[in-house]
C-alpha cells in the first residue's frame, strides 16, 4: 500500500480543530487527527494525563469535536470501561469509546487498569501515542524509552539502560481481538488499522509511534522523516496481531541501518560507535524473532 496521502483515502471531515496547543512538529496531534477521521463523530474520548491533556486546550475550550473526558493518569482503561457500560445500559451500542493515552499512561502507571480491561475484553479502543518518555512533565524516562536514550532522568552520563518494553506482545498475550502498531508517518496504514479496529467488538489496542521534537531533540520539520526511518530501520515495525495469535507485517521494512536514525536525534548524541553497533544487533535480533513469529503465524 502506497503511503502517499491520497485524497479519497482520507475522510475530509475534521474532528480535530486547528489552534491546539502542541509544540510545532509534534506527532501527537497528527495521530489524533487521523484516528478521529477514521472513527467519526460517534466517538467518546477518555484521556488520562499526558501531553494531550494540554494539547486539547484549557477549560472551557476543546480542540476535539467529540466528547472528551480528562481523567487521572492511571485510569484510562477503567474510566472507558465505565463509559462503555453506561452507554450500553442506556441502549447505545454504536458509540465507540476510545482511550487516548501516552506511553507513560500505558506502559507504566496505567498498565494494571489496561491489563484488567483487556482481560475482560472490554469493548473499547485503546490508543497509545508513544513519544518514548514522559514529555508532559519534562522528558523523564518511561519504560517505553529506548536503550541508550538521554532523558532528564537518564542523563547522558547514565543514559537509559533498559530495553523498551514490548507492549504489543503484552497486549497480544491477553488474546484481545486486535492489536497493532502504527506510525504518524504512515497515515494510510494508520487509517486502515483504525477502520479495521472500529469494526471489531472487544478490546482493540493501537500503539502509535509519535515523534517529539523537543524530547528527541531534532528540528521540528523532521517528524515524518524520523517516523519513516523508525519503520524502515525496523526499530519500530508496523504490525498487526489478531486474537493474540496471528501476527502480520503491514508494511515493507527495508532494513536500513539504524545509525542515521540515531544520529538524527540529539537524545542519542552521546552513543559511541560500539554502542550503535549494539543497538543494530538488538534490532536485528528482534526483527529475526518477529519474522519467525509472523512466519509461524504465532
Amino acid at each position: 500500500m502506497s503511503q502517499l496521502m491520497i485524497a479519497d483515502q482520507v475522510p475530509g471531515d475534521e474532528l480535530m480543530a486547528s489552534g491546539h496547543l502542541a509544540c510545532p512538529g509534534c506527532g501527537a496531534p497528527m495521530a489524533m487527527r487521523m484516528v478521529l477521521k477514521a472513527l467519526g463523530p460517534k466517538t467518546v474520548v477518555v484521556m488520562p494525563a499526558c501531553c494531550w491533556s494540554i494539547i486539547a486546550g484549557p477549560w472551557p475550550q476543546s480542540s476535539l469535536g467529540v466528547p472528551l473526558y480528562h481523567t487521572a493518569f492511571e485510569t484510562g482503561a477503567a474510566v472507558a470501561s465505565g463509559v462503555k457500560a453506561a452507554l450500553e445500559m442506556r441502549g447505545d451500542r454504536q458509540t465507540t469509546v476510545m482511550v487516548w493515552a501516552g506511553d507513560g499512561g500505558t506502559f507504566d502507571i496505567g498498565l494494571q487498569a489496561l491489563s484488567g480491561a483487556a482481560e475482560r475484553n472490554e469493548d473499547i479502543i485503546y490508543c497509545c501515542y508513544d513519544n518514548e518518555a514522559y514529555m508532559n512533565t519534562g522528558i523523564q524516562r518511561s519504560s517505553a524509552t529506548p536503550w541508550g536514550a538521554w532523558t532528564t532522568t537518564t542523563p547522558a552520563a547514565h543514559p537509559e539502560s533498559n530495553a523498551k518494553k514490548d507492549i504489543l506482545a503484552i497486549l497480544a498475550a491477553h488474546r484481545i481481538p486486535y492489536a497493532a502498531t502504527a506510525s504518524v508517518a504512515y497515515p494510510v496504514d494508520l487509517l486502515e488499522k483504525v477502520r479495521k479496529a472500529k469494526a471489531i467488538r472487544g478490546t482493540r489496542f493501537l500503539h502509535i509511534l509519535s515523534p517529539c521534537p523537543p524530547g528527541w531533540k531534532y528540528e521540528d520539520d523532521a517528524t515524518v522523516e524520523l517516523g519513516r526511518m523508525a519503520v524502515q530501520t525496523r526499530v519500530f515495525p508496523l504490525l498487526e496481531v489478531e486474537d493474540g495469535v496471528t501476527w502480520r507485517f503491514t508494511a515493507e521494512h527495508a532494513g536500513d541501518a539504524v545509525e542515521p536514525y540515531l544520529r538524527r536525534q540529539g537524545r542519542f548524541r552521546h552513543l559511541t560507535a560500539d554502542q550503535i553497533e549494539g543497538v543494530q544487533a538488538s534490532v536485528d535480533a528482534r526483527w529475526a524473532a518477529l519474522e519467525r513469529r509472523v512466519a509461524n503465524g504465532t
Binding site: 491533556s53 494540554i54 469535536g65 466528547p67 473526558y69 480528562h70 477503567a78 470501561s81 465505565g82 463509559v83
Partner: protein, 386 residues
C-alpha cells in the same frame, strides 16, 4: 416486606431498589457480601445492571466515574485499604461532580492487618468532598442507600454510606424492604444534568487556570451547603413513603440533660441502652447521634448542644497527633457559641481496630466526666495498656 438480613445485604438491597445501572467493585473483607449479593442479583436478572469486575479499587472508582459521566447511576462498595487506594479518584468524583454512591464498611487500616471496625478509613477521606452518612442499624443502611442516590443526583455530589464492620456488616436484623413501586416514585431513572454525549460534545475536566479553579471549588462548597436542606427534604419524602427518617443528627433523651454523649455508628445503640438505665435512676444523661459527617451539621449541633454543661464525644477513630475526629470537628463547631452556652467537650478515643465498646466502658466514661477531674490531655484513650 420484612426480611432478616445482614448489613452488607441491606446495602445490596438498597442498591437494587435504586436500580443501579453500573456496578464496579473489588472484594475486601468485610465488604465482600455486598458485591457477592449484587453479583447474584445481576446474574439471575433481579437487577438489570452491568457489573464490571475490575482489578483494583482504584479502577472501581474510575469505572464508576466513567459510568456516571456518561449519565448512568453508578455504585461501588469497599473498606479500609480499598478506600485508601481510591483516594485520588474520590477527589476526581467530587471535582467532576459525579453523583456516585459508595458504601464503605468501616475497617481498621494496617499494619498490622486488622479487619475489624474503625472509622479512621472513612474519616481519612474527610477532605475529598464526599457527603458522608453513618448508619446505626441495618434498616438505616437500606434506607440510607436508597436516599443517597436521590441526594447525590440532586446536588451532583458523590455520597458515601458508612457502616461498622461486623457489628452491622455481618449482623442479621429484621429489615423492612419497601416496595419497588414506592422506590421508583421516590427515585426515577437518573437524568444527568450534563453528560458525555456525542450529539452535544463537550470536554470534561480540562486544564483549569488559577483564574477559575477556585470558582469550581466554590461551587462544590455551595453544593455542600445546599446538601443540608436537600437531605432534610429527601428524608421527609422518604418518611412520607415509608414512615422512617433519621435526621442529620438525632437527639436522644437529651431534654434537661446536663451531660450528653456524642456518638456515631453502632456505638450509638450501646450508648442508648446505658442512657436508658441511667435515666431510670434519675441520671440526666442523653445523647446526640451524628449521622451526617459531611457536610458537617454545625448549625444543628450548636442548637442541640448549646447550654449543656458537659459533652463527651466517643470516637472510634483517631487523627494521630491530634484527637478523635468527631471531637475535633465538634469543638470547632461549638467554639463560636457564647462562653456561657458553650459546653465543655471531652473526647474519648476508644474501640479502635474493633475493640469492644461495652456498656461498662461507656458507664465509666460518664462517671469520669461527672467527676470533673482536671484532665491532663485533651482526649483520653480509653482502656489502653500503655
Amino acid at each position: 416486606m420484612k426480611k432478616v438480613m445482614v448489613g452488607n445485604h441491606a446495602v445490596s438491597w438498597g442498591a437494587r431498589l435504586a436500580r443501579v445501572e453500573v456496578i464496579s467493585a473489588y472484594p475486601i473483607t468485610p465488604q465482600t457480601q455486598v458485591v457477592e449479593e449484587l453479583s447474584e442479583m445481576c446474574a439471575d436478572g433481579r437487577l438489570a445492571a452491568r457489573f464490571i469486575k475490575v482489578e483494583s479499587e482504584h479502577s472501581a472508582m474510575a469505572a464508576c466515574i466513567g459510568a456516571s459521566a456518561a449519565g448512568a447511576r453508578a455504585f461501588t462498595a469497599t473498606s479500609s485499604q480499598g478506600l485508601a487506594l481510591m483516594h485520588e479518584m474520590l477527589h476526581w468524583a467530587t471535582g467532576g461532580r459525579h453523583p456516585v454512591v459508595l458504601a464503605n464498611i468501616n475497617r481498621a487500616l494496617g499494619p498490622g492487618w486488622n479487619i475489624w471496625t474503625d472509622q479512621t478509613d472513612s474519616l481519612s477521606q474527610r477532605d475529598t468532598g464526599w457527603v458522608q452518612l453513618y448508619c446505626e442499624t441495618n434498616q438505616e443502611v437500606l434506607d440510607t442507600t436508597v436516599m443517597a442516590f436521590r441526594l447525590a443526583e440532586t446536588v451532583d455530589l458523590p455520597v458515601m454510606i458508612v457502616l461498622d464492620a461486623f457489628y452491622l456488616s455481618h449482623t442479621a436484623e429484621p429489615v423492612d424492604i419497601p416496595d419497588q413501586e414506592v422506590v421508583d416514585v421516590f427515585l426515577p431513572t437518573r437524568e444527568a444534568h450534563r453528560k458525555l454525549d456525542v450529539n452535544d460534545p463537550h470536554a470534561f475536566g480540562a486544564l483549569v487556570r488559577p483564574d477559575s479553579y477556585m470558582e469550581m471549588r466554590w461551587q462544590q462548597q455551595e453544593a455542600m451547603d445546599r446538601t443540608h436542606d436537600v437531605f432534610e427534604a429527601v428524608e421527609r419524602e422518604w418518611q412520607r413513603l415509608t414512615g422512617r427518617r433519621y435526621g442529620a443528627i438525632e437527639s436522644y433523651r437529651a431534654r434537661d440533660a446536663d451531660l450528653l454523649l456524642v456518638t456515631s455508628g453502632t456505638i450509638t445503640s450501646t450508648a442508648r441502652s446505658v442512657i436508658d438505665r441511667r435515666r431510670e435512676r434519675g441520671d440526666a444523661v442523653g445523647l446526640v447521634k451524628v449521622k451526617m459527617f459531611r457536610p458537617f451539621p454545625t448549625a444543628a449541633l450548636r442548637a442541640a448542644l448549646s447550654g449543656v454543661s458537659r459533652v463527651a464525644v466517643l470516637d472510634r477513630n483517631v487523627s494521630v497527633g491530634h484527637a478523635g475526629i468527631f471531637a475535633e470537628e465538634l469543638r470547632s463547631a461549638l467554639y463560636d457559641l457564647p462562653p456561657d452556652d458553650r459546653p465543655r467537650v471531652q473526647g474519648f478515643v476508644l474501640g479502635l481496630g474493633g475493640r469492644d465498646v461495652t456498656p461498662a466502658v461507656i458507664d465509666r466514661i460518664i462517671d469520669a466526666v461527672r467527676e470533673d477531674r482536671p484532665i491532663e490531655r485533651e482526649d483520653l484513650w480509653v482502656g489502653v495498656n500503655p
